[in-house]
Symmetry: C3
Subunit: 264 residues, 3 copies
């Protein structure tokens, strides 16, 4: 993987302006939409199964399924949206928030695993829990280092035939064989609600703009990580950092992705 | 229409502090409330039909119905709220997000049309779809120039006995006879989620503070457009622009509305 | 009460990083989570009763129940969460938004009162309505001075065996016997949606970090009030104030709480 390949994803994303349907939790809908808009993608959120199916068959380029505030009606909506995404050949991303900790979502995430996500994005605790190797963290907090989850992520990717993105101080991308480690980012990204969740939507936009999910996931980690570093350098407190992060996503050029991505 | 008439709407809004009930989509509730607070109105959101009915009969001054994340239970809530608004003589604004593209909301918006909105706010694609003349855009994106929708807007206003506000690089207001074109605004307003949706709530606040819906809708376009220009001049990136837009709405004076409104 | 006792609450909160489950209205979920993160607590929102019960029994340190956009399903979720909080010994805060004005929530808040909240946070109108002495305000606006509610608050605290925090230009804390008045804060805090609602979650975090609810509620009023003053001094308009408020919560030290709390 060369950093030029990741730069090309951003360039293609800005040309394509992919439409991403996010079925996500209540808390992060605004930052999810704003992050997609800032990077150059188009957001849409829906609450009705028929509308999701129609959008996916007609014009959506990617789907995010985030179980952060899962309810039984929303689980039903997600099942039918995933079916529609498969029917339309639209890539979909699973964000298994707090899997392993809470029973309902844990069972539902295992059901979704069987529906073959294109990409899974989670922190180390979530990926280890999903692979059956840990009890899960505390909500969106991880209790594990991301490096500890690399073997779990490889196993999960092999079992599901998908790509896995483990996010943390170092982000890891694996398709079950290759493993890429990226070192961009800043701890402030965990001090603003929804940055991680919105990263799932950004990942869907990148996958929709990349030759394959592995490259798309790596581009997502690089783009958000570089923007986060730059925002934190200007705004070291979480309130102003949140706005600066969107500004930096908007300002980031493909050439800068090529130059500043840190493969570690 | 003189720009002084639009300035008078802002002045009256600040005196009256109208209470606006917004039944709107999940994504934009926070920016909708913050935009109303910044301009000098009072926001309220509710999820229960009985509470909506009671609020409309007792103290609400305007109602927004935005179908962006429509569900069947929410449609039922909206029907009963519109009935309550009519019973109480409260003006109501319809924002037919993505009408024409998705079937459920398209049918529901036509049902709402028959319930005689005071004002309809949409982009060119939405207004043309609602008038039966185009297939609709892609979510909140318009695929048409707003000028293309002027004839559709006039026809729609005549058929429904309402006022129509078509928003875009130029905003058009029509009551079926008169057409007013306003040229304020900035493209950054489309790069922050919910600015367009919150404009529907701002329109309800302006209509509640104006001698008629035509003047209220024109004032809304002028107020938001001038604030948007000023915010963009200071903050040319979307994250900081979002905060600056609220600051400028708060700072804007009626005299500045009179001076800087561009009728084109 | 010495201001050093309030400073100790902030110090303890930062060590403990309490996990606060907020069952709150649609509009304020993002600012609620961001305010908890900024001060040093951990936010979680859920929509499923079984998940709420499990979280409360396993790892939550506090619960907020805010009725701002109450629905019948959410009321059911709140009842079962309060039961689970009691079973687990987790303190819970009631924010009775607009009680007295709207019938459904008024009846529900009285039902919740019987379930013995640890702390009630409301404005003067809400506290007077809850104590049976006024008709309530207009949504989140209060129509009463907070001093007018002090006797209602004492009576309510005695009847329910709880602590009451009346917020306004002066904040009052009472456990039915003691009354403490705190004078920090800025009017801009009422111009950003959700600052008051998020204060309920902050109160839960402070109570979870304090020797008793009285001290926790007082610390909450001091912490948010001082941060609000500092943010307003730098950012006198509501859009930039919102970000600055989070920055100041992040920056505030226990020593500054001890120095700048104004007991009046």
């Amino acid at each position: 993987m060369k950093t030029n390949d990741l730069a090309a994803v951003l360039e293609n994303l800005r040309k394509k302006n992919p439409l991403i349907l996010s079925l996500t939790n209540n808390v992060v809908q605004s930052i999810t939409a704003n992050m997609l808009l800032a990077v150059g993608a188009a957001p849409v959120m829906l609450n009705d199964a028929a509308e999701c199916g129609q959008l996916l068959s007609v014009c959506a380029n990617g789907l995010l399924v985030n179980v952060g505030t899962l309810s039984h009606p929303q689980a039903q909506l997600m099942r039918s949206a995933v079916d529609a995404a498969h029917a339309a050949g639209v890539p979909w991303v699973l964000d298994p928030v707090a899997v392993g900790l809470l029973r309902f979502r844990t069972e539902f995430c295992h059901e979704l695993l069987a529906m073959r996500p294109t990409l899974i994005r989670g922190n180390a605790s979530e990926i280890m829990a999903l692979a059956g190797e840990a009890a899960g963290g505390r909500g969106t907090d991880t209790t594990e280092e991301s490096s500890a989850a690399v073997q779990s992520a490889r196993k999960l990717a092999q079992q599901c035939g998908c790509t896995v993105l483990v996010t943390g101080p170092v982000d890891y991308v694996t398709d079950g064989e290759r493993v890429l480690a990226l070192g961009n980012g800043d701890p402030l990204m965990t001090r603003v609600t929804g940055v991680g969740c919105a990263m799932g939507a950004l990942a869907a936009a990148c996958v929709a703009s990349a030759p394959d999910a592995f490259t798309g996931a790596a581009a997502c980690a690089a783009i958000l990580g570089i923007a986060g570093e730059r925002a934190a350098a200007r705004c070291p407190r979480p309130g102003s950092f949140a706005g600066a992060l969107l500004d930096e996503l908007d300002a980031l050029s493909p050439a800068e992705v090529a130059e500043f991505t840190r493969i570690v």
